[in-house]
Subunit: 233 residues, 2 copies
DNA sequence: TCAATAGTGTCTTTTAGACATTATATG
DNA sequence: CATATAATGTCTAAAAGACACTATTGA
């Protein structure tokens, strides 16, 4: 009974899946694509590709976004989330997937084609939301929680906005990702007093259609970790 | 020039490497083993094994510790750190490695055999420290920083001590991992006022050889995240 | 007795949060 | 003018940190 018929150690398929989050219309949204497999018609999946043998994992992540959603965002924030290796996570066989988290500003050109779409994060898991393929219903909550958590102790919120930005725009990122309202005055004080979070830029941003005082513009600072942190209420 | 001679998408070897940290004699220590390969004689490596085709990633991590260091710690804290997929990280070929972070109380039976040893984290990277094989000099700092960081906002420090423990023992964990001295009075107040961090247990712990008041015993609480966090000074 | 460690009390400084006030825009 | 948003000021409550003090042990 100790004579295996197959090699115990085998190469297995390695893939990358990317959870791309963005904030559009003050709502946190996730990019999903339609899977290739006909059996999965009607479901949605994170854009993902097999890792090529001459390709780094980050490169596979970028290629997944480019090939499956037409998104080329070399400046987008991209970080590893976690690797999912459950034996049965893919019905086609053993596939180990390295999941990535990507954060981008709202694309002025939203990829609302048939193949790729942005979905409200708030609707995921509800009857109105999309049905997720594979084990992506396990990856997606991890990605969202990572984003929510990293907004606290890193300057990652700035990855959601184009430069230059106003502190009102930055605050709306926090409000969309966390799903809470923040006091504008206290938010401003925390941001500008946290070293390296943002740097003042030139000029003023015009107010919205309803009027309002023009806002100062800011750029990303050089700090990666925030001291003190922006704690969730 | 667009006719590849080898398949662009191939299965590649998947391995798991485990960075096991413990606190011994008030110093943060890392478990390293001697690699199998003769070419790597004199260097030290994280215990790691190839993933079997019938085995989950966590199982491979446990097996790595058991087979290479004789450590069977099913209750130890084990979490994924990151996956390292650089093309050239292993001279034997393309190996994608899923790195794990393991935290355990000091083994009463330290694995100081020829094959496995605990090394002071403070000496890593110095002339007195071990030379690391593969790309493990990139993994190890990530593991240490993860542990230092998670002590702030999680109850992970309790993974380093056996139950029941005293708050003095818990404080010495923080001091060893962070490398700073903490005020005992303020530390105690923070810990007991953070909901779910620790729970009072029965009895008192005897003082050390130099005397001192007997300390109350505590057990791990049920909180995973600490609110408020234990911030580094 | 003294030295050592545990645990409590208290004070000061810092930070977070609520909310009023002023500034500058649109309609 | 009213309304909207930006930016500043001020007050209060909570938290962090310094440090004195008491409690209980071993030597």
């Amino acid at each position: 009974m100790s004579a295996p018929t197959a090699p115990r150690v085998a190469s297995c398929a390695v893939a990358v899946d990317v959870a791309l989050l963005t904030v559009r219309n003050d709502r946190l949204q996730l990019l999903l694509v339609q899977p290739d497999a006909a059996a999965l018609r009607g479901t949605w999946a994170l854009p993902g590709r097999r890792v090529r043998d001459d390709e780094g994992l980050d490169d596979t992540a970028h290629r997944s976004l480019a090939e499956l959603a037409g998104i080329t965002a070399p400046e987008a924030h991209l970080e590893q989330l976690r690797t999912y290796g459950e034996l049965t996570r893919d019905p086609r066989g053993r596939v180990v997937s390295v999941a990535y988290l990507a954060l981008t500003p709202t694309p002025g050109d939203p990829p609302d084609t048939d193949r790729a779409q942005l979905f409200d994060v708030a609707r995921l898991g509800t009857a109105e939301g999309p049905t997720l393929a594979y084990d992506h219903d396990r990856i997606v909550p991890d990605a969202i929680e990572r984003a929510r958590s990293k907004l606290e102790y890193s300057a990652l919120a700035t990855a959601f906005v184009e430069e230059p930005f106003t502190l009102g725009e930055l605050r709306s990122i926090y409000e969309a990702v966390w799903g809470v309202a923040l006091d504008p005055a206290n938010f401003r004080r925390k941001v500008v007093s946290t070293p390296g979070f943002v740097e003042e830029a030139e000029g003023l941003a015009p107010p919205g259609p309803g009027g309002g005082r023009p806002a100062k513009r800011y750029r990303r600072g050089h700090a990666r970790r925030l001291h003190p942190a922006m704690l969730r209420p």
